[in-house]
């Protein structure tokens, strides 16, 4: 339905463009006399007026709500006030409000993606927003983030981002959508659907629009950023970092590229000088931008390069108190006892998952299923001084406690050390590298990858169904959770609840995942 509406709108835009041309050069067409009714001025005027009206309505709606629609298409979310780094982002935005004298409100968003880019959007309604990816936000220092945000804020304040946004919302958004469609339905597309042709025209339109957007605006915004933060090196460092990493090509559609701090697509056009590239490209060469910035402090680009590539892993924060070690299994695997309840409480290896057998009847149960023994765990939790949350560990059935992890909050079970993470927080955690990847985790990760790889291979050979495992239930909604691999490249088994969008990691699994991604420990799977 929406698709049809879009088609209708675009037809009207195209018709209005066509008829607009007719309207301005009527004589040429009259002389050729191709169609009779073209000669009727009333008909032309009515049709043109109607299609212009439709196009105008579409333009108004797409341009006035551009901030929201762009953010929605990027999947951006508002910053989480409980997250340390997101709080920093909010603070910096407030600082920018101070320097502008509170004349213009700028919203801020975070794009849950590992890529590194930032984008500024403003629309006809006067809304303006800056969005920054988790990847960029987590890897920049405070002063670098300030520089990037000041750059984007200048685009908004100088209003040159408004032209770009309007151009984008007219055509670019749909071009971006088209690219996604093309990526999705490569094999489904049989023949050339007329809609694709229309979209193709729009794509070309949006590419032509980049001619109207000058490269100069990026230089100006860099300069304005330095004027505000007085720190050219931070800006240069940020640009350097972004240019060396994944800038989000594929995630940020080509229609939006002129709004970004650095073009998500790497192309030669951007990196070259000359009349043609000046005309066609929206972003100046990064080297030149960095050069200009570094000239302000008389530092050479090679020096910056050396510094940034050598000392990337300097952040090393100890994780506070030493973690008490819980052995999950009684190592002898023997029945010990008999113990009194008070003695049980003193046993260090008693865990909610330990099998117990009460004296009278011979039935065996988990320790957490016995209310008397369960009280031990509750009191242990209380003495540990951790605040209990309403969620319960899917395996131990004890309440989880909030724990800071990589500047954000996760819920951890104090007994089995499993962690409950909100799905939106996973990319944040992955990009942040505060938690060091220890040797133990590294070797564990290697072993788990190899093990899972073998399991999958066996399953493939035997062609058996997925083996049933005792399903854990979601700590929030108590529906069964889905057990999957994090991805086919990173073989970590996780439990996902698709209703609440949360993920349960068993002990060490989150660290292992981080470690795998950081060190590119991908599994090689033969998927044929």
């Amino acid at each position: 339905m929406l698709f049809l509406l879009l088609l209708l709108m675009y037809f009207s835009v195209v018709i209005s463009l066509f008829l607009g041309m007719l309207f301005f050069f009527p004589f040429y067409f009259m002389k050729t006399g191709s169609l009779v009714f073209w000669n009727d001025p009333l008909y032309i005027i009515v049709l043109t007026g109607f299609s212009l009206l439709l196009a105008g309505i579409h333009f108004w709606f797409s341009a006035s709500g551009a901030v929201q629609s762009v953010m929605k298409s990027l999947g951006a979310i508002t910053p989480d006030p409980e997250d340390g780094i997101h709080r920093r982002l909010k603070n910096i935005i407030d600082e920018i409000h101070v320097v502008t004298g509170q004349t213009r409100k700028i919203g801020c968003f975070v794009i849950p993606s590992l890529s590194m880019n930032a984008i500024a959007v403003a629309d006809l309604k006067g809304n303006a927003a800056i969005a920054i990816t988790e990847g960029l936000l987590s890897r920049l220092t405070r002063s670098q983030t300030e520089a990037v945000l000041a750059h984007e804020a200048y685009h908004i304040l100088s209003r040159d981002c408004m032209e770009a946004t309007i151009a984008t919302s007219m055509f670019g958004m749909y071009a971006a959508m088209l690219e996604k469609l093309q990526n999705l339905g490569e094999e489904e597309r049989s023949g050339l659907h007329p809609a694709f042709f229309l979209f193709w025209i729009l794509l070309k339109f949006s590419q032509m629009l980049s001619m109207l957007i000058s490269r100069e605006r990026e230089y100006r915004a860099d300069a304005a950023s330095v004027r505000m933060t007085r720190n050219p090196v931070a800006m240069a460092e940020a640009l350097h970092l972004i240019s060396r990493n994944w800038r989000g090509s594929g995630m940020i559609g080509s229609g939006l590229e002129m709004l970004c701090i650095i073009n998500p697509q790497e192309n030669e056009l951007d990196e070259s000088n000359g009349f043609f590239s000046n005309l066609m490209s929206t972003h100046p060469p990064i080297r030149k931008r960095i050069d200009i910035l570094l000239k302000m402090v008389r530092v050479s680009i090679a020096e910056l390069d050396r510094k940034l590539t050598s000392g990337t892993q300097t952040v090393n924060v100890s994780s506070g108190a030493a973690e008490p070690l819980y052995h999950l299994l009684d190592p002898k695997n023997k029945w010990q006892g008999p113990y009194a309840l008070a003695e049980l409480a003193a046993l260090p290896w008693l865990l909610p998952l330990t099998w117990i057998r009460s004296g009278n009847d011979k039935s065996v149960e988990r320790a957490s299923e016995n209310p008397l023994i369960n009280a031990i765990f509750i009191s242990r939790l209380n003495t540990a001084g951790k605040e209990a949350s309403e969620f319960r560990c899917p395996s131990c059935k004890q309440s989880l406690s909030e724990m800071p992890y990589e500047k954000t909050k996760v819920y951890q079970c104090g007994f089995c050390r499993g962690v409950l993470v909100d799905n939106t927080k996973i990319p944040r955690i992955i990009t942040r590298r505060e938690k060091e990847c220890t040797e133990r985790i590294k070797s564990l990760a290697k072993a788990v990858t190899a093990d899972n790889q073998r399991k999958i291979a066996i399953k493939k050979l035997k062609k058996t169904e997925t083996q049933l495992k005792p399903l854990t239930s979601c700590p929030k909604c108590h529906n069964p959770m889905l057990r999957t691999f994090y991805s086919l490249a990173y073989l970590i088994e996780i439990d996902r609840c698709s209703f609440c969008n949360i993920t349960w990691f068993d002990a060490d699994e989150l660290e292992m995942l981080q470690c795998m991604i950081e060190n590119r420990m991908t599994a090689t799977l033969d998927l044929s």
Partner: protein
């Protein structure tokens, strides 16, 4: 006939005078407002400092002097009135704070403390806000001064007694150019 021309000229002059006067008033109020903004941010800093001191106190038995410097600078900044005195007191407070942060760097337990980190972030943000508010204030003061001194609006300004506002200048120590030593900067 000539009377009408005279009246027209006088009317135009009056109109110009009114417009100029109103513009000057608007500029003056903007300057005043910008000054209020600095005050807001300074107050924010004053409110944050006691929190920081209480958190840090337990860890830093040996650094009493540094802490006392901060608290006394805060007290002085709170008690002074008048722009010049206030500016110098606030500058001293800034220096005392940066001294404290330098000391904190030597205490690993403090450096990784969640509360300290949060307070440090808030104070860093506040320092920035003060700097930015100052930037805005000085820009507006410069605007106002240009308007008062330049012809012909200086006539109206002198008739109605508009006076230039004082710049919020930074201390002598801060004025020395920062050395861009890229090799030792921490990431």
């Amino acid at each position: 006939m000539e009377i009408w021309i005279l009246i027209a000229v006088i009317a135009l002059f009056l109109l110009w005078a009114i417009v100029t006067y109103n513009q000057l008033i608007a500029l003056k109020n903007e300057v005043k407002n910008a000054w209020k903004q600095i005050d807001v941010q300074l107050k924010r800093r004053h409110d944050l400092i006691p929190n920081l001191v209480t958190v840090v106190k337990g860890y830093m038995e040996f650094e009493r002097e540094t802490l006392e410097k901060v608290t006394s600078a805060r007290a002085r900044a709170l008690s002074t009135a008048g722009l010049r005195e206030k500016v110098s007191a606030e500058n001293q407070l800034s220096q005392a704070l940066s001294g404290l942060f330098a000391v904190i760097e030597n205490y690993p337990a403090l450096k990784s403390n969640e509360n300290v980190l949060q307070l440090q972030e808030e104070l860093a943000s506040t320092e920035n806000r003060i700097a930015f508010a100052r930037q805005l204030y000085n820009d507006l003061v410069a605007n106002f001064a240009t308007r008062i001194e330049s012809f012909p609006s200086n006539i109206i300004a002198s008739v109605f007694g508009f006076r230039k506002a004082d710049y919020y200048s930074i201390g002598e120590i801060d004025r020395s150019l920062p050395v861009a030593d890229i090799s030792t900067r921490q990431k």
